[in-house]
């Protein structure tokens, strides 16, 4: 298993600690000392990823010829706004108050796998977001089988 999959609801104790789902920790690898968390640019939620992933982003930035204002945006919002949170011996992290407030997270967190990264939501916000996303997908007549069929056609064509 190499990608973040499925979603989990975990409790936040009064010290602000949350268990990172074991399957997510497995994806991060046995050597991971923690995760990186920052505010999502699109939603009232948090984005999480491995430290290695952020380093990849850092290297990517150096390679891209981005306009100066884009650098500014990324450096301030991602690097300035991100927090590296280490695991304790039980695989928990403590989320900084600034971040939990921004995402309306109080006593429960939903971990949502998004392949290379994952998101942290308050249960209420996520329920609303999930419903909205589903109905939007339905309105666009998206379906998994259609996507796969389209991808297969494309691959055949390219062979």
């Amino acid at each position: 298993m190499a990608v973040f999959l499925s979603s989990f609801v975990n409790r936040v104790d009064k010290k602000g600690r949350v268990s990172v789902p074991a399957s997510f920790r497995a994806v991060l690898g046995p050597d991971a000392t923690g995760i990186v968390v920052f505010r999502s640019l699109q939603y009232d939620a948090l984005d999480g990823c491995s430290i290695a992933h952020l380093e990849l982003l850092s290297q990517s930035l150096d390679k891209l010829d981005l306009p100066p204002e884009a650098y500014e945006l990324i450096e301030t919002t991602i690097f300035g706004g991100s927090h590296q949170v280490p695991f304790d011996s039980e695989g928990r992290v403590s989320l900084p108050q600034a971040l939990t407030e921004a995402a309306s997270i109080t006593d429960e967190v939903v971990f949502v796998g998004r392949r290379k990264t994952f998101q942290l939501w308050s249960p209420e916000k996520f329920a609303a977001h999930d419903a909205a996303t589903r109905s939007a997908a339905r309105a666009k007549d998206l379906s998994l089988s259609k996507i796969i069929a389209a991808a297969s056609l494309k691959m055949e064509g390219s062979v």
Copy 2:
């Protein structure tokens, strides 16, 4: 951890001392005796970095083919206007009054990590700047995955 990450708010005591965040000191290394601080060229804020980084910047300047007026500008504003501030035994620095005034820093400072360097803001100014940056990013529909996707393409293309 090799880059300056996340942001911290620390108090300035009446002697003008501020604790440099422990994680920033960790990036600077155990041998660092202090930091270098100078006024940001773009904002009413201060830029900070290691002494080593300033030397690197100096060397980079020599390699670049900049117009003479750019050299002039950089040498007077950055090198002329920068202050080297040493740590005390607790990891604190005293910011020169000329700099704190320029950045409207009074009794609290926000340290903002920007990978190779960091910034020092007054809390009020930073809140405004952060909000503006964030909404600009949202308007541009920037996202982490898009940036990495773009960087990956570029890296593949360059091979």
